[in-house]
Structures are given as structure tokens and as C-alpha cells.
């Protein structure tokens, strides 16, 4: 009898673990095993454990693509941060009804396919696109500007693609800043600009970091937008990965690129997460 009780007690103690077991098993099969397989493959070159990486970094073209990818991802993140902060600030300070409408409008593009959104940018920046047509009709330019298939076009496309994520990350944070803080700052004589830089901006840092991680890793991983808006001269790691895996069928290089991108994403999350943690801790002490 007592042994039966102890088994029941033991099982009930294991309850939470048993409940998460199915989800863990599913994650293991659909996420961890394939990722581990990709990592393992990137080291499985008969020429040596790091031969794939050595070959990859030995090629100056690959290094160029890698540097370009990080530059594009960084500039897209910066652009999305500036635009997203403005949007989120406006939404957070709107009335309840308007806030809902603005939030829906800002998230609406996420309901459309990445391909469609990238193509729409072609219609905006193209030789006969909206911008060129407007500038020519206004007499500002006589020849269409070459805006498409440039790095600027890719950055603009990626920023457009990911700014909604930045807005979503920031709105909650900005909403949670208590009005008393603004009142206190104002009563102590701080001008609106000073309030923004000394109150709003520091308190929004965790949201900015979360949004930046999402936009940076997303910009690094997407291949449709760089392909459509940039083309071969703007080749990024994601585009190269797609080509190696799906066209050249060169799995060695494809796995290596995937591992490098994965490592970069994890590094960004860890570093930025640590920064966010330290900022929060410092604020708690103050």
C-alpha cells in the first residue's frame, strides 16, 4: 500500500515534466535533430574537421558576401529601428481607438507574402516606378534614377519588411512607461527633447534590443528580398545558401553557410540579451 502511494507521489512529482514531454519530443525531432545534423555535416569533410570552414573563408568572394550580408542586416535594423521607434511612439501616445487602428495598419503588411511585398518595392523604385515617375513629372530629374538592384534598394526592402516587428516590440515597452515619470521630468524643468533622451529612450532599450534581434536575424536569413531587389551584385549569405543547396547541390558549402548564420544569430541573441539584462539590472539598482 505504501509502495503504491509512493509511486503515485513520485508520478505526481514528475507531472510537469511528463506534461512537457510530448512537446519536447516534437521539438527534438523537428528542430534539434535537423539543426544538429546540419552542424555535424558542416564538419564532415574527409579533408579535416574544419576543412569546409577553411575553404569557405579562404575564398575572398565568400568573405565579401559575408561582410555585405552583415552590413545590409545592420543598416536594415538601424533603418527599421528609426522608423519603428517613430511609429511605435505615435501609437503608444494615441487614444485607445486610434491606437487599435494604427496597430492593425502597422501589422497589416505581415499578412502579405514576402514575395509580393518585395515585388511591390520593384514597382516603387523601378525605372518606370512611382518615385521616378513622380520626380520626372515634377521636373526634378530628366532621366530615371537607378534605384533598383542596388544595396539601398535591398536595405529599404528589408526595413519595410521588418519594421512591423520593431513596432510590435516597442509599443508594449513605450506604453508601460508611466506618465508620472514624464510629469516628474517636466516639473524638474526638463525640456521635451531632454525628456525623450533621458526618460523615454533609456526605458525603451529592452524593446529596442528585442526588435533589433528580430530584424537583424530576419534580415540576415531572408533571401527573397535580396534576390529580387538586389540580384547577383548584392548576393547575401542567405541567397548564396539557397543557390548552393537548391541549384548547385553543393551541400558541404550550404551546411557551412547555414552553421555560420546560425552561429551569428545565436551570438546576436546572447550578446544583446546580456546587454538588455545589464541595463535592466542597473535600472533596478537605481
Amino acid at each position: 500500500m505504501s509502495s503504491r502511494v509512493s509511486i503515485v507521489q513520485r508520478l505526481s512529482a514528475l507531472g510537469p515534466w511528463l506534461l512537457v514531454l510530448p512537446a519536447t519530443a516534437v521539438l527534438l525531432f523537428i528542430l534539434i535533430i535537423p539543426v544538429a545534423g546540419t552542424l555535424a555535416e558542416s564538419f564532415s569533410n574527409p579533408a579535416g574537421l574544419f576543412a569546409n570552414y577553411r575553404d569557405f573563408f579562404a575564398d575572398s568572394y565568400n568573405r565579401t558576401v559575408m561582410v555585405r550580408s552583415f552590413r545590409i542586416a545592420f543598416l536594415s535594423t538601424l533603418t527599421a529601428l528609426i522608423l519603428g521607434f517613430g511609429g511605435a511612439y505615435m501609437i503608444a501616445n494615441s487614444s485607445q481607438g486610434l491606437k487599435r487602428v494604427l496597430l492593425i495598419l502597422s501589422v497589416f503588411p505581415l499578412l502579405t507574402s514576402v514575395v509580393v511585398r518585395s515585388f511591390s518595392f520593384m514597382a516603387i523604385l523601378g525605372r518606370n516606378g512611382v518615385v521616378n515617375t513622380a520626380l520626372m513629372k515634377l521636373g526634378i530629374i530628366s532621366e530615371p534614377l537607378e534605384m533598383l538592384f542596388t544595396q539601398g534598394a535591398v536595405i529599404a526592402g528589408l526595413a519595410y519588411l521588418f519594421t512591423p516587428l520593431m513596432i510590435l516590440s516597442l509599443v508594449g515597452v513605450l506604453e508601460n512607461i508611466e506618465d508620472d515619470l514624464y510629469l516628474a521630468a517636466g516639473s524638474l524643468g526638463a525640456a521635451p527633447v531632454a525628456v525623450f533622451f533621458q526618460v523615454t529612450l533609456p526605458l525603451a532599450v529592452p524593446g529596442m534590443i528585442v526588435g533589433s534581434v528580430l530584424v537583424f536575424t530576419g534580415s540576415l536569413a531572408t533571401f527573397v528580398t535580396p534576390t529580387l531587389l538586389g540580384g547577383e551584385p548584392q548576393m547575401t549569405l542567405a541567397t548564396l545558401l539557397y543557390q548552393k543547396a537548391m541549384i548547385s547541390i553543393d551541400w558541404g558549402v550550404a551546411n557551412t553557410i547555414a552553421a555560420i548564420m546560425m552561429g551569428t544569430a545565436i551570438f546576436c541573441v546572447v550578446v544583446l540579451g546580456t546587454i538588455a539584462g545589464r541595463i535592466s539590472a542597473r535600472r533596478a539598482v537605481h
Binding site: 538592384f149 540580384g231 551584385p233
Partner: protein
């Protein structure tokens, strides 16, 4: 008693629903790996008659050529695979396909010589296509009559060219070599120096037919290096675009049938290939699928209207340049590196 009656009814109903399932399971399944877009045609014209004749159920596996080749090679479960000649050559080099005994194909002798065994004894081609130049005829006063016209000064920023890793990419390098008076395989330095001269004229390198259609329809480019399967969509988007008559000829593209080494129904696969290269199947395909489906069976007769967008007839077949994929795959890595030096920086 009513209880047992309802049980009987339920049993009968279950049997009724299960019967087709069991009978379907009893039928052998024959797996065809094909691009998705042509299955609508294959269904009534080839699949259904073949299923009836051989009492099998055809299951299709769709997707792009590289992914289907990979699946068939690694995972298996495919009885016959349809690929472009570039990817069937990759499969042959990987040892993925069976050789085929042509004497078992009753329609084999009716094929053009070029289509019989284009890559050795690995299977016949089933369509002819072409790779050439299309352009908006209203945007230039001097028509394009040669591949070397691509280097003309008045075409600055006008050309959409396929990326290196597409079927057409390396063929442009071959033409660059010819236009520079050398052979790109023997002297890649000269060919790529000529490619570098082409760079100012390239507005974008594209990876798919739909991307090319978009570039030509929006006016971003008015010259495109295209395969004929994409031509109807291009012309629908911009009716001023026509096919250039080139003095060197277009390149001949072929789609091939191959039987994977790990196929379960190899004899049936041979029968399927034989059925697909028959005069009637080839004629139906040419009429229904139109572009990119030039018949490989020389007994097919088409009206001039039916043949207007096809590689059709001996003269057309012979006037095209062959695409040496075995040689191209040998130099692939070196050319890719050189291409990236020119276009990827």
C-alpha cells in the same frame, strides 16, 4: 434483435466505405517525379491511359529539378523522373540513374537522332526547347541578329541575363568566348574578359522565368536571354517582345526521362517512357503545352499555327547549337568562381 440489425447495417456501411480503399491499395503505385505545371496536361493525355493499360495508380511528386533529383537519389521511391538535361547530367555523374535498353522502346526509332540518347544510354529526351534572345522590337532600330549584338553600346543597362547557376547562365559564357574569337573551354580568361565587357549592359541577372517576365514587362530591361517555355508569359506581358533570329542559332535545350537506380518498377518505367515518346503523346503535348514542348518524335505533324512557338521539324532541330552539359559540369566550379569575380563584387 434491433441491436444486431443496426450492427449489421453498420458493418455493411463500413464495408462499403472500405472497399474502394482496399481495392486501391491492391493496385501497384507508380511514382512519377515531374514539375508541377505540366501535370494538368499529363493527367488526361498520358497518366489516365497508362493507368488503365497497366492497372497501376500514378502518384506524382512535384518540385524544382534539383530538389526532386536529390529526393530521388537519397530517399528513393521514384520510378521515373523528368529533368532538364543539365540536372539529368548531374544525376548521371552522381551515378543516380539506370542505363536504359533502347531496344525495349518501340517508339525509339521514330525519334530525332539528337533526342535518342543525348547523354549516353540513360534515356531519351522527350521535348526540345531553345535558349536564345528575346527583345522589345520597338526599343531598337537595329534588330538583334547575333549573340555578339549583346555587347552593342546602345544596349547599356538593357539586358536581363540568367544567373550562373541557372540552365542558361554558362551558355552565355560559351557565346562570349565565340564572340571574342576563342573557345571558352580552352581559354576561359578571354571568355570572362568578354563577359566583363558585357557587365555595363546587364541590368539584372535573374534566377527564374517569372523574374525575367517581370523585368521585361515593367521595362526594367528590354532584352532578355530566355528559354522558350517562358516566352508566352513574356509576350502576354509585352506583345512587342519577339524572338531574335540569330546567325549562330539558339541553344538546344532538352528535357529527359531517367529511371533512378533505386526505382521499384523499372520495366513499367520503360513502358511509361515508351508511351510518352509515342507520336500521339508527343503531338498532344506539343499542342496542349505549346512552348518549350517541341516534339522529339519526327513523325509528329503539326500545322504552321500549332508549330509557331515550338522547335519543330528537322531543320529547326539541326539549326540549333547543342549544349555540352558534360563539359560544362567539368568546368562549373572554375567558371562559377570567375563569374562571381565579374558579377558578384
Amino acid at each position: 434483435m434491433p441491436h444486431s440489425k443496426s450492427l449489421l447495417q453498420a458493418g455493411a456501411l463500413a464495408a462499403l466505405f472500405c472497399l474502394p480503399v482496399f481495392s486501391a491499395q491492391a493496385q501497384e503505385t507508380f511514382v512519377v517525379s515531374n514539375w508541377g505545371y505540366s501535370n494538368d496536361f499529363y493527367e488526361p493525355f498520358i497518366f489516365e491511359p497508362f493507368e488503365k493499360e497497366h492497372n497501376v495508380r500514378i502518384v506524382t511528386e512535384t518540385g524544382g529539378a534539383p530538389e526532386r533529383l536529390n529526393k530521388a537519389r537519397i530517399r528513393g521511391g521514384v520510378d521515373v523522373i523528368l529533368l532538364t538535361d543539365k540536372f539529368s547530367q548531374i544525376g548521371i555523374n552522381q551515378g543516380a540513374f539506370e542505363t536504359i535498353d533502347s531496344s525495349k522502346l518501340s517508339n525509339f526509332d521514330e525519334l530525332y537522332d539528337a533526342a535518342k540518347n543525348p547523354q549516353g544510354e540513360y534515356g531519351p529526351a522527350y521535348t526540345f526547347g531553345r535558349y536564345g534572345i528575346v527583345y522589345d522590337k520597338t526599343r531598337t532600330d537595329t534588330p538583334i541578329t547575333s549573340w555578339c549584338d549583346l555587347w552593342r553600346d546602345d544596349f547599356a543597362g538593357a539586358i536581363a541575363m540568367p544567373a550562373f547557376n541557372t540552365t542558361g547562365g554558362p551558355l552565355t559564357v560559351m557565346m562570349a568566348g565565340k564572340c571574342a574569337g576563342s573557345d571558352a573551354f580552352e581559354d576561359p580568361d578571354t571568355a570572362f574578359a568578354k563577359m566583363a565587357e558585357l557587365k555595363p549592359n546587364i541590368v539584372k541577372t535573374f534566377s527564374s522565368g517569372s523574374e525575367l517576365t517581370n523585368l521585361l514587362s515593367t521595362g526594367e530591361a528590354f532584352i532578355g536571354l530566355a528559354q522558350d517555355y517562358a516566352f508566352p508569359a513574356i509576350q502576354a506581358a509585352n506583345p512587342n517582345i519577339g524572338w531574335a533570329e540569330l546567325s549562330e542559332g539558339d541553344f538546344r535545350m532538352m528535357n529527359t526521362y531517367n529511371i533512378p537506380k533505386n526505382a521499384k518498377h523499372k520495366e513499367l518505367a520503360l513502358a511509361f517512357i515508351d508511351c510518352s515518346i509515342s507520336m500521339q503523346a508527343q503531338k498532344d503535348a506539343a499542342i496542349e503545352l505549346v512552348s518549350g514542348s517541341g516534339p522529339v518524335n519526327k513523325t509528329v505533324e503539326l500545322t504552321p499555327e500549332q508549330a509557331s512557338q515550338l522547335v519543330y521539324g528537322e531543320k529547326a532541330v539541326l539549326s540549333m547549337q547543342p549544349t555540352p552539359y558534360d563539359k560544362l559540369l567539368d568546368v562549373n566550379d572554375d567558371w562559377e568562381r570567375r563569374w562571381n569575380e565579374v558579377f558578384g563584387r
